[in-house]
């Protein structure tokens, strides 16, 4: 019981802030030190309780409306009258051209243009209460639901045992085609997994990207394109991506 391991190291471990090698070191230590191991397990229990939904204060329903009410009053009012005059004076076309140019330049370094679109779609699914068309935690209900609605059979698996329970599925539209979306949860974070047939049978490793605070993972495997979008941290979202097996 005379363990001298720095407690901060255990906390860094709990927070996923240690590098790969130190994480392995701590894991090796935990396997042989009961005191540190029970410290870590004890905190994981507390964390579990902190993340339970009854401790999460969701915004009251009317708050969103109040916030929406803020924007027009501040922005469309007399604060920016020049902006509107400029738009109506024909600046609109110039503005649109500039926006297109900027969008083009910004999107060029990426190998696919689907990422920002996928994030917009993710946000819309959360805003419009249209996250799920078929609500089920059963993969044998969700998978057949897609039959006849799309021209491919997306891989559907429940990952509840791994901590990512399936919540349901829906259809969405992305990159000029209908795609399947599988909705998973990790604690309070919804994960949208977009799936559609790839143009070829190539394999692309998982590519990480952050857009507007959302993490986007893209990969291609077994003839399918995958995009996982969530506000979940990249570490856990990466674990999730590795679990998906078509």
């Amino acid at each position: 019981m005379n363990c001298t391991l720095d407690r901060h190291l255990l906390e860094g471990y709990l927070d996923g802030e240690l590098g790969f090698e130190r994480t392995l070191e701590v894991e090796a230590h935990l396997a042989s030190c009961r005191s540190c191991d029970s410290y870590v397990q004890g905190w994981k229990d507390v964390r579990g309780a902190l993340q339970r939904s009854d401790l999460y204060h969701r915004a009251p329903a009317n708050l969103e409306e109040k916030i929406r009410g803020l924007a027009p009053r501040e922005n469309r009012g007399e604060r920016f009258p020049w902006f509107h005059r400029w738009i109506w004076a024909g600046g609109g076309a110039a503005f649109a051209t500039a926006a297109l140019l900027i969008a083009f330049v910004l999107s060029r370094p990426q190998n696919s243009s689907a990422e920002p679109e996928v994030v917009t779609s993710h946000i819309r699914s959360l805003m419009a209460n249209h996250l799920i068309d078929v609500i089920s935690t059963d993969q044998h209900t969700v998978k057949p639901w897609f039959d006849g609605k799309i021209d491919f059979a997306p891989p559907v698996q429940d990952l509840a045992a791994e901590g990512y329970p399936l919540a349901g599925g829906r259809l969405d539209y992305l990159e000029n085609r209908t795609v399947a979306v599988l909705v998973y949860h990790r604690a309070l974070h919804p994960i949208n997994l977009y799936v559609w047939p790839a143009a070829d049978n190539g394999v692309s490793p998982v590519h990480k990207q952050t857009v507007q605070g959302y993490n986007v993972l893209s990969w291609k495997k077994n003839g399918f394109e995958f995009r996982a979008v969530s506000d979940l941290n990249t570490g856990e979202l990466g674990d999730f991506a590795r679990l998906i097996k078509p």
Binding site: C3, R7, C36, G42, W43, P72, L188
Partner: protein
């Protein structure tokens, strides 16, 4: 611009409200604070250069909460200063022996009993799952301080839970 603003802010409204609710500890005040924060966010929206919109909003909500707490409950900060400057660190072994009664109700009460800065760092790390770097960005506190506050916050939460367990709550 208003549509863009809504796209940036509204998806993070729950996170904003949850943080405010834990910091000011009252539903009505939390709602006022979030509205005030969104007004500020709208005012500063020109300065938002893309990137992590959640951290950006949480930073504004956090600062608005702090202004509110300073004005309405100034004593909350004195309590924290005493705690943070005390230097004793209890034995890890002693803590390990503790059986934590981590049911939601106990944890809720224990978290509510903590000083505001400890509540803040625990909500940002454990509930919103921000990294040390992100917490540092949101709170404007250096990374090292984030780590030590988090460590002390956990210690205090454990102590509260131990007291609750002792009372048989």
């Amino acid at each position: 611009m208003p549509e863009q603003f809504e796209q940036v802010v509204l998806p993070h409204l729950d996170a904003a409200y949850n943080l405010a609710r834990w910091l000011v500890r009252s539903p009505a005040d939390a709602e006022d604070v979030v509205q005030e924060a969104c007004l500020r966010a709208l005012r500063f929206f020109d300065g938002f250069r893309g990137g992590d919109s959640r951290a950006w909003l949480l930073k504004i909500v956090r600062n608005t909460c702090y202004s509110w707490v300073k004005k309405n409950r100034p004593t909350e900060f004195t309590e924290f200063d005493e705690t943070v400057h005390s230097s004793e660190v209890p034995e890890k072994d002693a803590e390990a022996k503790l059986v934590l009664h981590a049911n939601s109700e106990c944890v809720r009460k224990a978290l509510e009993a903590l000083p505001v800065r400890f509540r803040e760092v625990l909500v940002l790390r454990e509930v919103e799952e921000l990294s040390y770097k992100e917490i540092s960005d949101v709170t404007g506190v250096p990374m090292g301080t984030v780590m030590s506050s988090l460590s002390r916050a956990r210690q205090r939460l454990r102590e509260e839970l131990r007291v609750a367990a002792g009372k048989g709550v």
